[in-house]
Each structure stands twice: as C-alpha cells, then as structure tokens.
Symmetry: C2
Subunit: 273 residues, 2 copies
C-alpha cells in the first residue's frame, strides 16, 4: 500500500482530553491534516477494565482506518497503556502511542532516577509507564499514583480554587513521600490542571521538580516518525485541516472541546461506532 503524505493523521481518544495532543501536533506540524475521533459516548476509559478498553480502541481505530489515515496516534494514555500491541497486530498501519514519549521525557528530566506518574486507574494498574521507563533506563524507578478525580475536574472546568488544589495535594502526597524529582502527567486531561499541579508540586516538594506533559513529546515523536518515512506534509503547504468526530454530543461539548483544544473547534460530526 502506498500512502500519500497528503493523507490525514488519525488521532483518537476516549473523549476530548486528546485534543490537548492535537493542539501540540498542530503547533509542531501545522501542515498536517488531522482527523480526530473522540469516543464521548463511552468516556471515560480510565476507570474501566483492559478487555473493555481494547474493544473500544479497536472500534475507534477501525473508524480511522476507513478514513484512509496515514498513521494513527493514540492520544489517550489508558489506550496506549493496554491496547497498542493489539492494534499494531490488527492494523496494516503505523500506530503511535503517548506512553513512550512521556516516559522518554521523564527519563531525560529526572536526576535522581525517581520518577512519579499521575494517571488514570487503568493506566497505573497496567504498569505501562514502569515498563517503558525500564526499557529506556536501568537507573530509574517509577512511582505510579492513580488520580481518578482529575479527569472530571478538568471536564467540569474546575481548574483553579480549593477543590482541585486539595485533590491534587492528596494525589501528590505519596509521590512527595517517595521523593520523586520528575512527575509525568500521564493523562491527556491533566494539562488543563497543569498550573495548579505545578504550583502544588513546588509548594510540597520544592522548586526543582520537573512536571512532564506528554503532549509535546508525542508531537516530537510523530514528527520524527513522519520524516523518517517521508510521510510529513511539506511545511510550505497550506495549513492542515482539522476534522472532529465524536460518538456523543453532550450539551457542554463545545465549551469543553474549546478548553482542551485551546481554540475554536469548527464543524463536528457525530458518528456511531
């Protein structure tokens, strides 16, 4: 199969959090066309079991394949933690996840080798970050902390004030006790809470702790991959398009999507998987 560099990148997520990855991709790769699918009818994945997540991810990826994408970016840590091998085995298409780039950024950032990960219950339970870090460095130890309330806080738009502050502190406590010096935001919802997380990290653990968001690391990874395959759309081209599709259109969709993407969202299609 020959793939054209003009073909779109397919990006999917359990919901709208993956739009933070789209935002990073569009900053780094403005020429790329992007088709984004958010499985908003079944969000969140992060509280669910691995078999269910694999089933849903397979349906999302299949929908993108039918759209003739040149590669698939899994913009969801939970899916990247439990489903990428299965998707790679099933699809005749490159599949890039968010765990490896995030792990690489954390390994680069830590000095003590003690790396903390904040993520959904499913991502933490999978041990995917610990495996990814172990494959890159023998001197690092990973401390995972499930932080399930941060997803609804980000979706509700409660990104400042006492409620998110106290929730963040409660989740950071075990990481502070473990003396980590780098913390991965292992869920694409968390960049919305980045300011409050950084503030509390500093307050609890001092000024020298790195907070690593995988969004920009993913964009670097995708760029390197596309260039290595000659699949990057030339920088001289017009700005790439962005097509959004979701499986459910809740009342607050536009407001939430805008918050994650950091800009206007344009037309949105509702699809049934």
């Amino acid at each position: 199969m020959t793939t054209s560099s003009d073909a779109p990148l397919g990006v999917f997520d359990s919901g709208l959090g993956g739009l933070t990855v789209v935002r990073a991709l569009r900053e780094r790769l403005p020429g790329e066309h992007i088709v984004y699918l958010g499985d908003t009818a079944r969000v969140p994945y992060g509280t669910k079991g691995p078999a269910t997540v694999v089933r849903y991810a397979t349906a999302c990826a299949g929908w993108l394949v039918a759209r003739k994408v040149k590669a698939i970016v899994i913009a969801c840590n939970t899916v990247s933690a439990v489903a990428p091998e299965r998707l790679r085995a099933d699809l005749d298409l490159p599949v890039l996840g968010v765990i490896d780039p995030g792990a690489r950024a954390a390994v680069a950032a830590t000095r003590s080798g003690r790396v903390g990960v904040l993520a959904t219950s499913a991502t933490i339970a999978s041990g995917a970050y610990a495996r990814a870090v172990a494959a890159m460095s023998t001197r690092c130890e990973v401390f995972g902390q499930a932080a399930p309330l941060l997803v609804p806080l980000a979706e509700e738009g409660w990104t400042e004030g006492e409620v998110p502050r106290l929730a963040v502190r409660r989740y950071l406590e075990p990481l502070a006790r473990a003396n980590v010096d780098a913390i991965v935001l292992g869920c694409t919802h968390y960049p919305l809470l980045r300011a409050i997380i950084e503030h509390e990290v500093r307050d609890m653990m001092g000024p020298d702790i790195a907070v690593v968001d995988s969004g920009s690391a993913v964009a670097e990874d995708v760029e390197a991959f596309l260039r290595s395959r000659g699949l990057a759309r030339s920088a001289g081209s017009n700005r790439g398009s962005l097509e959004l599709a979701v499986t459910d259109l809740p009342r607050s969709f536009v407001e939430i999507a805008r918050r994650f993407l950091g800009g206007e969202i344009g037309e949105v299609a509702q699809v049934d998987l």
Copy 2:
C-alpha cells in the same frame, strides 16, 4: 402474557449507583428476587446526550426482558429523566422510574413550595423533575443544580473531608440563594454523600431543610405497584435472591459495589450488550 409473582424484578443503572436502590428494595421487599444490570462499560450516562442515553437504556432493558423479569425498575435518574416513555412504548412490561417517587417525596416534604434538585447534567437539562413536580402540585417551584463531580467523588470513596465538603458547598450555593426548603438527591450515587450533604445543608441553610433520597420512595412505589397487580412475592417466602451483572469488571469493582449495596455482593456475571 401471564407473569408469575416468583419472576424476578429487573433493575438497571448506568453503573453501580443503582445498587443504592437495590438496597432500599431489599429492605422493603425482602422476598423479591432481583436481577441487576449495571452498564459499567459505558458509565457515566449523566454527562451524555439524550439520544445516546436512550440507545444504551434500550439495550439494558432488552437484556432484562430476555431474563423474563416481571417488571423493570430504572434505578438511574438520568435514564428515568430521558428514556422511560420510549422504553414503555417498546416493551410489553411495566417500567418504573425514580423521578416520580423522588418528586412526590419532595412535594410532601416542602412547606414553602421551593424545591431544589441536585442531579447529573443530563437529568437537570431534561427538566424531568420540574415536569414531575408540576404534575403533582401547582404550588411548587423547582430549582435544578447539576453536580457532575459528585458521581466521581462517590465512586472514588471520597465521601468525607475537605474535597467533597467544598464541592458540595459550591453546588448548594445557588439552592441556598433560591431559599429552597427541600432538596432531592436526584442521582443514585448521592446517598453515599448523604451525611456530608446534610451537614452542609444544615450549616448553610439552617436545620429545617428536608433532604430527600429517592431510593426509599422508589421502594414504596414498587411495592404498591406489585401489590396492585398481585405480583408481589409473598412475605412468607424465603429471602429473595440477588443476581448482579455488569458490562465491565474494573479492578475496584467489588469495593465500589459493596459501598453502594451496603453489604456483600456475591457472584457477578460480566455480559456484553
């Protein structure tokens, strides 16, 4: 079709919150067999659009019909708000929801006629409580407040401490300003937060505000309905059985289910809808 009183009651919910209704049913109707289906693979419904909720509710009800239940109890405010007419039109079976019993209890409890409702975004957006109350009383006014963070707080088990306290206060503020004197807990997850909600209601609004939980009102309704049709299983019978089925079995399932049911959960089947 003749239905035996020995046939089970079918109960379904978007997830595990409906187990608080099962708990009330088993207290009031200990002889009834109950088959419970929790759509944990697609929980929550309360943040999703009405078309998606109707589609999921139809699948859940269909699964219970195949189990030959004598009636269906929708143990979910979101489904009861948007889908009961459709289910009643599609099914040759009695369908009971949780909105009418909750509204009736609130109308009975209010003196000023100013009734507050805390519920999911979908339930509030549907206006179902306002319609139900208006059908029962011309002297009442309903003030709805969406409280989306309370579901994840209850599931996470954060039912005491500063985070739920401040979240509850933030959601109660508009109801306090509206001078309601009765507040319906319009989501089956909220009984787990009842203690903290009652405490903050008292603190913010004084001692005379009624907090109404629809669980026991639903159990009364179901009992009256079964007796009127001669379908109640005789009180002299052995204690009824409880069968649980879910569409996803996440890691923390047993702990969460036990919290909602208030006791041991026994065998659980995983089904695919």
